[in-house]
Symmetry: C2
């Protein structure tokens, strides 16, 4: 983990900050059309597969926790997982709940997710609470 | 690893089979516009983050080897990594070399990569040879 880490302003603008795991910040895309989480490992590396083995394991384990939440609690049978970063260079991992017939199925979300629905504040709080209580996330207090 | 594993016919049709690692088959997308590798872990799981910890580590380690090849030998500075599988349900991992100004930069390749260029046979052989000699891949003999 770097001490100079600062969340990229584009990710901050596009997402709600829900909390963090040991390595990664946990963001929720503001577009509520699908459950679209973004994990941001606190590192200077820009590609997932360039992380050293320890950080790579942490990043993947933390992603798997969010994926388990999406499947178990939000009842999405499928999770798309990706590290792209062609536009925002800071390493960030997409974890997106999908189901047949969803708003842009079967296309990937990037460039295809047009519905823009906002989260109610209490919905976001309840999602963050679930992640804290059952999936080991720490809350966002002190992260901003 | 399952003993009943069979490569999905759509992946077989879209790709060249280059070889395998311990867990995954190594495929090369026939569209040579970008170096687009696809790893297919020999498992019944359909989502990367659902793999058990051992297989998940293998799949990621094997992906990192291909990524290192793309960066070091093919000189692409960026690698997009994704497990989507909304169309072809068999688990497969995309490892795609990208660079600013490439044929669909900065868009993700899915739905945006229109150029279709074929690989020369000797180019494919040389790529597979490099992967065997320097990145621990086994050749494709006996896999078909």
């Amino acid at each position: 983990m770097t001490t100079t880490f600062k969340l990229h302003p584009q990710l901050r603008a596009d997402c709600h900050l829900l909390g963090c795991f040991e390595l990664s910040l946990v963001l929720l895309n503001r577009n509520a059309a699908l459950p679209w989480f973004i994990l941001v490992p606190r590192t200077d590396a820009t590609d997932l597969l360039d992380l050293d083995v320890g950080d790579r394991k942490l990043a993947i384990d933390e992603s798997a926790r969010v994926s388990a939440y999406v499947k178990s609690e939000l009842a999405f049978p499928k999770v798309n997982f990706a590290a792209i970063g062609n536009v925002v260079p800071q390493l960030h991992l997409h974890i997106i709940g999908r189901k047949p017939g969803d708003t842009c199925w079967p296309s990937p979300v990037w460039g295809h997710l047009e519905d823009s629905v906002s989260y109610e504040a209490n919905r976001r709080v309840s999602m963050a609470t679930d992640l804290v209580q059952r999936y080991g996330m720490r809350g966002a207090e002190g992260l901003d």
